[in-house]
Symmetry: C2
Subunit: 334 residues, 2 copies
């Protein structure tokens, strides 16, 4: 049987190896055609795998001696040749794996994708694309770029839209994904020159289902399947909603458990709160693909737990299974 | 008795005159030294005031025949000479009033402040400064600019910080207001050149209590008293948190009232939800001052209800009472 293989950098994230390895074992149990190469300290990996049940054919270990930690910078990609992040990227570059997943530091990972994997022909600036939950049941929105770049030019934005459209069609099964441009107003005349030019390009591209500008307040409305943005604004928007969401839920939790009387009533609403929190749980959406990298490259949140890693690994697997890279390359017509 | 006078443009907002006039009457009852000049269609204003109790010495009506509606653009300031917005601004320019408040369209209002009121000496780009609630009880954060400008240069940002510091000290009574710079990371090296230069200016200014960069996720953490930003990013951040906040509360409401059983439990938590929603009710924070305009100029949200208008009018009154303009001008040392 031919495996789909993920090179999984299990070092360098905030919570150690255990949640990473546990998440991988869970997914291996579900996807029999998946193989995972655990890249990192072999001894530590073996101790995590010890006594766990899994099909040994589906697992490899690639030992490395260095770690790029969360404080790591871009230069670490050059300095730490035997780090788990560098080696995982090299496994993909050398076609020993179909995709790479890491929970490690963002900046070195982007640099590593750039220097080790390279970019799809015609792409100058790959963009980070997380999946964000919306108020519409089972509907998500793809948002990019959220910070792989600061500035993007209108052509980058158009290419983000083309790649994300191919992704949305093949991985998420959306027929004609609606694309919107993040901007401070709905009118075509809003924003910087970059926005106005990007608007024109998107509108003029017959392969795209462009629905116009979208204001940040509608990010999670489910109006669009894809929201394209420069990296700076996308990052500001994403971090703003993450922050306020977390804060509001914390506040509500503290208010409804302040007295015993309230606690008792809150218990009866447990299921209701669960429904809301499942819908917006960022742990189910902790992964982002670096769209435009020459290979499939996923980053999971630095503070990922088992649930987060599982979600990111599953997304990685789905991207391989659905042959996203080829579909994006074709869509780019370059 | 010498009155503090607000020229109140009561036309052009989404909800008509009634909430505007009602809010004004409420505040007039509380502040005996306040006079309000209602600017707009006299007949409509009279009908709103009819049978209401208020001290007639505190009220004037200035009749106008035109309205700049929510779709109004910048040119309307020149075209509609007898609009309530233009006339209200002129009353302040001609020292017939100490401040102006409107719920009308944003773009014409900014243009009107620019052309009719002018700017404080040394200020090139006035900035919109709303007050945002934080998780810390009774603590708010001043955020500017949230969209009066797209781009701002580092010098604008420094002046925002100086003016907002003077405002925070005099109106909010904060001793040494903590100033932070909105950025995508905490390190000094993050963001665009503009951010790096602004960081240096803020750090080097001994009159400011600069605490460094702040990420959008901590906007409502209460860490800073003042957050300075370029207008574009500030707008994206503000609209993102407004959108997600509203959405989350809607979701929770719908989840806890889905069944009769849940509704009954939710009733017992009514007070708890009230506590949270009061804390984050944007209606209490619907007003923003255009900091840097030559006179005190407040904009209330276009969809303001009575509560929103009341909050904005109260902020306007406090700004007059505390002589903010002179304090800001002094602080600028220009």
């Amino acid at each position: 049987m031919e495996f789909k293989t993920i090179a999984f950098d299990v070092m360098g994230s905030d919570n150690g190896l255990i949640p990473a390895v546990d998440a991988a074992i869970k997914l291996l149990g579900e996807q029999k055609r998946l193989k995972i190469i655990f890249v990192g300290d072999e001894k530590e990996i073996r101790s995590c795998l010890h006594k766990k049940k899994y099909n040994h054919d589906q697992v490899e270990i690639f030992n490395t001696t260095e770690v790029i930690d969360m404080k790591g910078d871009i230069m670490d990609i050059r300095r730490k040749k035997d780090s788990s992040m560098v080696k995982a990227l090299e496994l993909v570059r050398d076609n020993k794996a179909d995709a790479v997943t890491t929970g490690g530091a963002t900046a070195p990972f982007i640099a590593g994708c750039h220097f080790i994997l390279g970019k799809i022909k015609g792409i100058e600036r790959p963009g980070f694309m997380p999946v964000i939950p919306t108020i519409i049941k089972d509907k998500v929105t793809l948002l990019l770029d959220v910070g792989a770049n600061l500035e993007c030019d209108p052509e980058d934005i158009e290419k983000f839209a083309i790649m994300a459209t191919a992704y949305s069609k093949s991985v998420r099964g959306v027929d004609s994904p609606k694309v919107a441009l993040l901007n401070i107003g709905e009118e075509e005349s809003k924003g910087f020159d970059m926005h106005k030019k990007a608007y024109k390009l998107l509108k003029g591209n017959k392969d795209l289902n462009f629905i116009g500008n979208i204001e940040p307040r509608y990010l999670t409305s489910g109006i669009a399947d894809i929201i394209v943005s420069d990296g700076y604004s996308g990052n500001v928007a994403l971090k703003s909603i993450e922050g306020i969401g977390k804060m509001l839920l914390t506040e509500i939790k503290s208010a409804i458990t302040k007295t015993l009387w309230r606690k008792m009533a809150a218990l009866r609403l447990k299921k209701a709160f669960k429904e809301v929190s499942v819908k917006f749980d960022y742990k189910n959406h902790a992964g982002a693909i670096l769209l435009g990298a020459k290979k499939i490259a996923f980053k999971s949140h630095g503070s990922s737990d088992k649930k987060s890693f599982y979600a990111t690994l599953r997304m990685t697997y789905e991207a391989i299974e659905n042959d996203v890279l080829n579909k994006m390359t074709k869509a780019l017509k370059l």
